[in-house]
């Protein structure tokens, strides 16, 4: 299928790569289908691009790369709702935001994706240890941009 995107232009993705979020993401309930786009070789970050809305895309990452102690405390019944029987079937991503040079991850609202079934849901964690803006990595000041 061909997807129109504001960031990448027109892209072609296989239909089987579409991930469905039956409830949408919080604040975006109307947009329920996304594709994961690798941002480069051996990507640490991906774009979660809406299939239906060209401008709508989020940077996502695997939080365990930055916060090794992070675990999503999900109950078995919550996993079962996504068709996940074994925790290994689930892949956890968090949405990344940028505040000046600081990249933050929304560890309070992780995305749980059932890899094989291509189904996902944004969870709301009540655990107060996690916030919506956990620092992940600080970017250096862009020297290249100044000399360009």
């Amino acid at each position: 299928m061909i997807i129109q995107t504001s960031r990448f232009g027109e892209i072609e993705v296989d239909d089987t790569r579409v991930i469905r979020f039956p409830k949408g993401l919080l604040g975006f309930p109307r947009y329920r289908e996304y594709v994961l786009i690798e941002s480069g070789d051996e990507a640490t970050f991906w774009w979660l691009q809406s299939v239906d809305m060209p401008e709508l895309a989020f940077v996502v990452t695997d939080p365990s790369l930055f916060v090794p102690t992070y675990q999503v405390p999900l109950r078995r019944d919550q996993l079962a709702d996504l068709g996940i029987n074994e925790p290994e079937d689930a892949q956890v991503f968090v949405i990344v935001n940028k505040q000046d040079n600081l990249l933050t991850g929304n560890l309070q609202g992780p995305l749980i994706i059932h890899v094989a079934k291509r189904m996902g849901e944004q969870m709301v964690l009540s655990d107060r240890r996690f916030t919506t803006r956990v620092p992940l990595v600080e970017l250096p000041t862009p020297v290249e941009a100044m000399s360009a």
Partner: protein, 82 residues
């Protein structure tokens, strides 16, 4: 908005399946017990709103931001400083 008065240990039913019980009242703090089917998610509203707000802000990250980020992370992983 429907406004109901309840005492401690009294319950409100919402539809057939959702029960909200006043468990404890101390000063201006009320503790509520909620029984709901598992497909009904129950959250503190401020947490829900915070995540919604953060999603909206995160949707504005642009491609140049990520390109810079990738370069930085790769340099760091390569141990060349940066």
């Amino acid at each position: 908005m429907l406004v109901l008065s309840r005492q401690r240990d009294e319950t409100i039913m919402i539809g057939d399946e959702i029960e909200i019980t006043v468990v404890d009242i101390r000063g201006d703090k009320v503790r509520l017990g909620i029984n709901a089917p598992r497909n009904v998610q129950v959250h503190r509203k401020e947490v829900y709103e915070a995540i919604k707000k953060e999603n909206t802000a995160s949707a504005n990250v642009q491609i140049a931001d990520l390109t810079r980020l990738e370069t930085h992370v790769k340099r760091r992983a390569a141990g060349s400083g940066g």
